[in-house]
């Protein structure tokens, strides 16, 4: 049997790999996408809670997410699939001067980057988010252009489109070697076969480091685990994603939004972080998160929790993604380390990878890639992770 030849092999059919495969095919490449799970999005994509925002502080992420938001917002019109996109904006609340200061400082950077975001006092904020705890509310930011969509539906829509464009998929298949010749990728070996290709994209999410090691490289990506939950659906009472960045014993920030179907989806950042890839349910999650949510918005007390799960954040030392050609191996592109934002970054990163692979980079792209390059010096963390 002759070895199949592809222009590019994307490893990972999740939040990043799927749109990357699609974008690469859109630019005329013959693409193979390999994933270790049984079907698309079964790694971290389905664990994402669906928030989509461009209101970051790092310019690269702002640009990538603006491009992603455009994809999500226009997808149904362009391609027909309902992604459950809902443009309700993001609200970051402040109940202490510390958080108010952080948010207001960021506002300057965000506005300079051209983002639609404003600071609102308590009365105005309560009009945007009725039901917030009034006592102690200082104010918060609201960015109406942000929103949410269903990670699973998005992934499946991109999958459908990718197949339409001729992308080949192999599920339940693991990459066992990235074959190189004279410093150049020439193929991929898996537990089920081998494929020839001059280009591999690492989009393996929390498993990015293992894949890098298979290629004889390393990647500073360490997963940590976050738990999330979803409630019964109810009639809409909440439009924006609400984020509370105030720390509390056991947790840093937490956030929740009401999906297009009416379900409230929530997540918390444990403190200290739970490093590793253990995704088993903890007894600490629900009481900790519920207390904070009900304290912030008392009416949530009556909302019934339906399901919980844990997902992995592929963290980098500085909290920013790693995207670009690897300096030590020709034909190997990193699209990794999304730090829990793979879903919102995915379409932007995917299309950037496609432009990179086909040498169609814009000056903006070059700036982004400079910021996210794999061999950068990893400094301090981003303020609004």
């Amino acid at each position: 049997m002759s070895t199949q030849v592809f222009d590019v092999i994307v490893v990972g059919a999740g939040s990043v790999g799927m749109p990357a495969a699609m974008s690469l095919a859109e630019r005329g490449l013959k693409v193979l996408c390999i994933d270790q799970f049984a079907s698309p999005g079964q790694g971290s994509n389905k664990a994402a809670i669906g928030g989509l925002r461009a209101t970051h502080s790092a310019p690269a992420k702002i640009k990538l997410c603006l491009e992603s938001l455009k994809t999500f917002a226009t997808w149904e019109e362009a391609h027909g699939d309902d992604l459950e996109w809902f443009q309700g904006g993001y609200v970051f609340v402040a109940y202490r001067p510390e958080e108010a200061r952080v948010l207001q400082d960021l506002l300057k950077v965000q506005k300079a980057a051209g983002l639609d975001i404003e600071w609102y006092g308590p009365e105005e904020l309560l009009r945007i988010v009725p039901g917030l705890q009034r006592e102690g509310l200082i104010g918060g930011t609201f960015s109406p252009g942000d929103g949410s969509a269903s990670p699973m539906r998005s992934n499946l829509a991109f999958y459908r489109r990718a197949k339409e464009l001729g992308v080949s998929f192999r599920f339940q298949e693991r990459v066992t070697a990235i074959i190189r010749r004279k410093g150049q990728v020439v193929g991929v070996r898996t537990d089920k076969g081998g494929y020839a290709t001059p280009l591999v994209v690492n989009a393996a999410g929390p498993w990015a480091r293992q894949l890098a090691q298979v290629a004889g490289l390393d990647a500073p990506v360490v997963p940590d685990c976050h738990e999330a939950g979803i409630t019964e659906p109810v009639a809409r009472f909440l439009k924006p994603m609400v984020v509370d960045i105030q720390p509390a014993p056991g947790s840093k920030n937490y956030y929740f939004h009401q999906s297009a179907l009416g379900q409230v989806i929530f997540c918390i950042t444990p403190d200290p972080a739970i490093l590793g890839s253990d995704r088993r349910e903890t007894s600490a999650f629900l009481p900790m998160t519920a207390q904070r949510m009900v304290g912030l918005m008392p009416k949530l007390a009556n909302l019934k929790v339906r399901r919980t799960w844990r997902g992995l954040y592929p963290m980098t030392p500085d909290g920013s993604p790693i995207v670009g050609r690897h300096p030590e191996l020709s034909g190997y592109i990193d699209a990794i380390g999304m730090c829990g934002q793979g879903y919102m970054l995915g379409p932007g990163v995917g299309s950037l990878v496609a432009r990179l692979a086909t040498d169609q980079l814009t000056p903006d792209d070059r700036a982004t890639l400079e910021e996210l390059r794999p061999d950068r010096v990893f400094g301090g963390a981003e303020a609004l992770k």
Partner: protein
């Protein structure tokens, strides 16, 4: 105003008066004290509780067990499961139309911290298995928390108005299930270190080997050294057109409405499935004054005990073997059911469809273990055992015995000096789990003089109360276990009629030639229907074991001895030619079972697989044909399994569709199982306390203190 409450049940004590006022859509009604909203509505003939947000389909009772959320209504502004929440005085109940609104809090509340309580053994489920285990653990002095989601202990025993099979020594055979439940509860309550938490639902086993429970609205975490899963079974569902119309529900749900809550949930009923559950439910329906139009079973013969089947047949209920349900028909609620004959390859034979008018279709197509807690405990390394149906589907008699065994095993594992589990217990458990054995031709004795019992009992099942009850010891069973058929082996009968009364299958008659006029005999027949339905001096139609009419005979005596435990012993005078064939009295007229001339009501065109998210079999089949092989992908594509029931109902139906499409299940990736097992308000996890009361549930504190003291 129509009232569908049962007033004259032959077995159950008369229920209390309805005194609790509530409103439904603004109209005033009365509920009984402690009655669930669902039963209070059924008592008014209301069984459509709202409409689904996705397609506006009418919603009503499905599980009546708190497992799904199909019966949700709005009670005082909050969406609740009507099958679990009792009516409170003045409660305003509204249908749930589409999505519920989340109300603003009506009162201030505070939080308290969620406690973690240690215990030696946590038993999930207060049914026959859990209670029996608790008794053994109690005897051994083990600290136990036993939880059950219902207000009353006993599990499904509460619903079992019939006398139990098995042996008297091992599992109270010959006693009614509901009374066995009470006996077990009394015994459990004797042990101080066994703490019983009713209205407590287990939600999840966590990776730190704790178990999250919600107790009367308060969230509690229990940290057991060992877990016993005695959570019983849930009913399997079935895919057919109209399968989610209000009026289609499980046999267990039906028994809850009829036997626990004493609501005549139906006037004309059709049963799908000839296992014990379906057969018994049909019998319970007859006792509640509900017409049973028929029962269909896909196999050659019913899978349940032959005595249960015979009981129905001789009461006049036709059993359609090799038949399946084609559709439940009706616009908004069930108005009729269509069944059809199956060929050798289990396909419907066109042209054999028949439609029967009915208002309710019971689905009794088997049970599956509630084993998600068991799986999670094993995954997380929490020492765990299972007993009863959660371990293996069998009769409640077997559940009591496996519970007993597990109880002793756990006590031993915890270091208590309880000795080995007697080998005999294991043997008895195996015998009680036995599937029905060989069926033999009924042997009718040739004698036509004196007095003797006749056993219309021709299938080997684990049962022997008749041998234990006979004061003369004249009834024996062949072999060493209790599976054999009874024999009467000496002429010592004193006509005490105790064997007639005790037989759980109502399969023993007593034929007495001594005082009857020449050419006749007196035949004693057990009868478990309303006393008002039979009088001395009246004439009754008697039937043989196969339900064939033998003739009309006069009733010469009706008595209700205490030992018959609410059953009547009816003595008829019959010609000798038929006396020994008589096996029962017809209670339902043949016209009840006649097919309708044409389909009554609209035939729906959709078969629903996932009732929470309204996913049709057609959608699922289309995805399978497109190559989907991962149930998780199917879930993302269709939302099947994402609904309020927590993916408890549709997985087996989805897998069946894969098989029907020719996809072997080893090619299909199973669902990833996620907590929670039940939807619970966020406030419970936040430790929300309403009003000005104590910040911590006083009972929990007391229990905690008792436990600390007990160590």
């Amino acid at each position: 105003m129509p009232d569908f409450r049962i007033q004259d049940h032959p077995i159950l004590p008369p229920p209390g008066e309805a005194t609790v006022p509530f409103t439904w859509k603004g109209q005033s009604f009365l509920a009984r004290e402690g009655e669930t909203i669902a039963s209070a509505l059924f008592a008014q003939g209301i069984r459509t509780f709202g409409h689904h947000p996705k397609d506006g389909s009418p919603q009503g009772i499905f599980c009546a067990n708190g497992q799904c959320a199909q019966c949700s209504v709005i009670a005082d502004g909050l969406s609740v499961k009507s099958c679990m929440v009792p009516v409170k005085p003045g409660m305003a109940v509204e249908p749930l139309e589409g999505l519920a609104s989340l109300p603003d809090p009506t009162e201030a509340f505070r939080h308290h911290a969620i406690e973690t309580l240690p215990t030696e053994v946590l038993i999930l489920g207060g049914g026959p298995a859990g209670l029996s285990a608790a008794i053994e653990l109690g005897k051994a002095g083990v600290n136990v928390i036993l939880v059950d989601d219902k207000a009353d202990l006993g599990g499904k025993l509460v619903l079992q108005t019939h006398k139990f099979f098995g042996s008297i020594d091992a599992c109270h055979a010959g006693t009614r299930g509901m009374d066995i439940g009470k006996k077990l509860e009394e015994e459990v309550r004797r042990f101080e270190q066994v703490r019983v938490w009713t209205e407590t639902t287990a939600l999840s086993v966590f990776s730190d080997r704790t178990v999250g429970l919600v107790r009367k609205g308060h969230y509690v975490v229990v940290q057991p050294q060992m877990l016993l899963v005695a959570t019983g079974a849930r009913e399997r569902s079935l895919v057919f057109k109209g399968n989610t119309l209000p009026g289609v529900y499980g046999a267990g749900a039906f028994q809850t409405l009829v036997n626990r809550d004493q609501v005549r949930a139906s006037e004309r009923l059709f049963v799908i499935g000839g296992g014990n559950v379906g057969l018994i439910a049909a019998y319970h329906a007859l006792q509640a004054g509900i017409q049973v139009v028929g029962l269909c079973e896909a196999a050659e013969d019913c899978g349940g005990y032959k005595v249960h089947k015979d009981k129905l047949v001789r009461m006049g209920v036709p059993i359609h073997t090799r038949h399946t349900v084609v559709s439940a028909n009706g616009k908004d609620e069930v108005e009729s059911v269509t069944i059809a004959q199956l060929d050798d390859r289990w396909k419907v034979i066109p042209g054999t469809e028949r439609t029967f008018a009915c208002d309710t279709v019971l689905v009794a197509v088997g049970l599956e273990p509630v084993d998600e807690f068991l799986a999670k405990a094993r995954e997380f390394g929490l020492p765990v055992a299972a007993a009863g149906d959660a371990e293996e589907i069998a009769e409640a008699s077997a559940a009591m015995f496996t519970g007993k065994i597990r109880g002793l095993e756990l006590a031993k594992a915890l270091g208590r000096d309880v000795g080995e589990v007697p080998l005999e217990w294991h043997r008895t458990a195996e015998v009680l789990k036995s599937r029905p054995g060989a069926t033999v031709t009924e042997e009718i004795p040739e004698d036509e003089r004196g007095v003797f019992p006749i056993f219309h009992c021709s299938q080997e099942i684990p049962c022997n109360p008749c041998t234990s009850i006979c004061p003369k010891g004249a009834i024996t069973i062949e072999g060493t276990d209790i599976l054999g058929l009874p024999m009467f082996n000496e002429e010592a009968c004193i006509a005490c009629e105790q064997c007639v009364a005790v037989c759980p299958g109502l399969a023993i008659t007593l034929v007495d030639y001594r005082k009857a006029p020449e050419g006749t005999a007196e035949v004693s027949i057990p009868y478990e229907f309303a006393p008002s339905s039979i009088q001395e001096g009246s004439t009754v139609t008697v039937l043989d074991t196969l339900g064939r009419v033998l003739g009309e005979v006069p009733v010469v005596k009706v008595r209700a001895p205490k030992f018959a435990d609410h059953a009547l012993l009816v003595k008829v005078q019959a010609p000798s030619a038929i006396a020994k064939q008589i096996a029962g009295i017809q209670v339902q007229e043949p016209w009840v079972s006649k097919p309708a001339g044409e389909v009554v009501g609209r035939v729906p065109d959709e078969e629903i697989v996932c009732r929470c998210e309204r996913v049709t079999a057609g959608e699922v089949r289309a995805w399978i044909r497109q190559g989907v092989r991962d149930l998780n992908e199917l879930k993302s594509l269709t939302r099947a399994g994402m609904g309020a029931c927590g993916g408890k109902t549709c997985p087996s139906l989805l897998k069946r569709l894969f098989r029907e499409e020719g996809v072997p299940l080893d090619q299909v990736t199973d669902f990833t199982k996620r907590p929670l097992v039940m939807e619970v308000p966020l406030g419970a996890f936040a430790g929300v306390v309403h009003g000005e009361g104590p910040t911590v549930d006083a009972a929990v504190v007391r229990a905690h203190a008792a436990f600390e003291g007990g160590l």
